[in-house]
Each structure stands twice: as structure tokens, then as C-alpha cells.
Symmetry: C2
Subunit: 200 residues, 2 copies
């Protein structure tokens, strides 16, 4: 509850500047190297303000990932809503994975970092769990709507399909980024085949 | 090359003690909190020796993950070799995922941490890439052998199927651990259905 009320004060340009500064700092220095001093200087705010809003670097990192996830989910929602067939829907998902690997590696690395932190920090664990639940619910809702429109036939529960889509996407991205020299076209095709068993 | 030759000197009980001490330290203090001083004291070796063998904490972490992966792969190989049908094979994979989530959360967290480090450290990136390639090749080999025995029909390239299996396993484990209050039985069942499209 405290986190939610602090967050509500954080709308606006200044909050966004802090989040952007943290994102840039983590990209350049890693999480371990990104201190409140760095972020405060880069964002042009006082260290005290940063501390007041976020309490800890871990909380600020979770906030960066939360905002990025919300933006990505909104974009995904909008794309998927346009799908006019199961093949179309799955092709959009494949494109999302390919974009993630080509352009947004930092986002993926940050998400895994929040997971790692969540293993030792109950507050971050609560934030991470909330992200997992929210993304699942949101994609499940799109799946249900598409089924109601007659665009998709779902062969498992919408929430379960959503988890498989995210799980496969994150896990494949991890391996594709880990071995960039490998030709992953056959892997992506196999992923499409697997997802096709759930979305007809 | 240097890493490989240093590694060859590292067989034996002392190396294992160092790796075990690092694993225990990371579980208790996280990577950021695990210094060479801690690990040297816990392993009963000098800080200089640790430095000589591993050079950096990140290298030692990569070594922990490499050894754990080798052990897990050997166990998985042995299990999968016994499968007498596609359903059996997929059930064994499902069991591996369930064990990972129930018992080996630290291993998963460490693997993601090595991925995170690999984004900013070329040496760790090389180690991580090697892990990705080795695990893919090893499972692809089991898949090929099982196809040759007439136990499985593969509906995509063995390497591609191996990537999907690891990707889905890691990604689902991440989400299952991130939201432990959720009932994941339907998710696991959907994962089994998806994998069934690749392994008949």
C-alpha cells in the first residue's frame, strides 16, 4: 500500500526523468555500479528526493521494469487486437520475440535482474509477482476477446496459454541472445509450431 | 584458452570446495554481497589462490553455473535415455521443470545472473554462449538417438526442439517462481500440449 501511494505521487516529468536516468545508468554501469548518486546527478535531482521516492536502488529498478512492461504490454495489446486469424496472431507474437532480441536486450536483462533480486528481497518479490500476474491477465483477456470474435480457437485455458507464450518468449530470447552466432530461424519456426498447438 | 588451461588445474577436492563455498555464499548474500574474502574464508583457502584460479568473482560464478549445468545435464541425459515413448519423454521433461521450481530455484537464479553479467562482460558472455551451445547439442543428440530407436518422431530439427524445451522450461520456471501463489497445473499442461506438437 505504501508503495502504491508513493507511486501515485510519481507521475509527471520528474519521475520519468529519474526512471530514464536509472535505465541509462544500468545500461552503462550495471545495477551494481548504479548508485543513487549517479542517478540523482544524471536526473538533475537531489539524492534525498530519490531516496524519499524509491527508498532503495532495487525499488527504483523494479519501477523501471514496471513502467517498461506497461509500455510494452500496451503496444502488444494494440497489435494483437488487429490480428484477423490465428496465423496472424502467432506471426505478431513471433515478431515481438524477434524485436525483443534485436532491439530490447536491456529490457530483458533488467527483467531477469529483478527476478534475481526478488529471490532475496520480499518487497521486490511482491513487485515481480504483480508483474507476472498483470501480464498474464492482460494477454489472457486479449485471447478471450479474440476467441469471442471467432478469430482464435483456444486449446487450453487463456491464462495457461498466456504463461506459455511469455515463458517461451523470455526463455528463447535468453538463449538467442546468449548465442548470437547461431542461426535461430529453425528455433523460431519450432516455437511457432509449438504455440500453434495451443492457438488454432 | 587461458580459461580452459586454468580450469584443468582445478579438478579435485579443493576446486570443488571453492565452488561449493561460492554457491553457498551467493545463496546467503547474493552475488553483490559475495566477496572473494567471504568465499576464501568459507572454503579454507587463501584469497590469492582464489584470485589465481578465477581472476574475478564473475568467473567463479560462471564456473559454479557451468558445473551445476553439467551435473544436471548428465542426470537429464540418463533419465531421458530410459524413455520408451513420446509421452514418457515429455512426462520426464515435465518432472524436470517441476523439480526445478520446487527444489532448485537457486540454480535458476544463478543462471539468469550469469546471463545478466554476460551483457556487460565479454568473457562471461563467452562462457554463457558455450553453456547454451553445449546444452542444446546434448539434448539434440538424445532426441536424435531416440528417433533412431523409433521411440520419438521429431517434427522440427533436433537443435530447434532442444532450444524450445530449454526456453520454455526456463521461462515457465521464472514465472512459476515469480508467482508462487498461483495454481500452475493448467500452465504445465498447456506446456506439455505445446511440446507435443514437436515430439510425437
Amino acid at each position: 500500500m505504501e508503495a502504491a501511494s508513493q507511486r501515485s505521487q510519481l507521475s509527471g516529468e520528474r519521475a520519468q526523468r529519474i526512471v530514464d536516468a536509472m535505465r541509462a545508468s544500468v545500461a552503462a554501469r550495471g545495477v551494481a555500479g548504479s548508485t543513487f548518486d549517479h542517478v540523482a546527478r544524471d536526473a538533475g535531482v537531489s539524492r534525498g528526493l530519490l531516496h524519499y521516492y524509491f527508498g532503495s536502488k532495487e525499488r527504483l529498478l523494479a519501477e523501471v521494469v514496471r513502467r517498461d512492461t506497461d509500455l510494452r504490454m500496451a503496444a502488444l495489446d494494440e497489435q494483437l487486437a488487429r490480428a484477423s486469424s490465428a496465423a496472424d496472431f502467432i506471426a505478431l507474437l513471433r515478431g515481438t520475440l524477434e524485436d525483443l532480441v534485436a532491439q530490447d536486450t536491456e529490457f530483458l536483462a533488467l527483467s531477469f535482474e529483478v527476478f534475481t533480486l526478488s529471490r532475496r528481497n520480499p518487497e521486490i518479490a511482491a513487485e515481480f509477482g504483480e508483474l507476472v500476474r498483470r501480464t498474464r491477465a492482460q494477454v489472457a483477456q486479449v485471447l478471450r476477446a479474440k476467441e469471442a470474435e471467432g478469430v482464435l480457437v483456444l486449446r487450453a485455458e487463456p491464462e495457461a496459454i498466456a504463461e506459455v507464450l511469455f515463458g517461451l518468449g523470455d526463455g528463447l530470447a535468453l538463449r538467442m541472445l546468449g548465442d548470437p552466432g547461431h542461426d535461430h530461424r529453425a528455433t523460431v519456426a519450432a516455437g511457432v509450431l509449438a504455440v500453434g498447438a495451443l492457438i488454432g
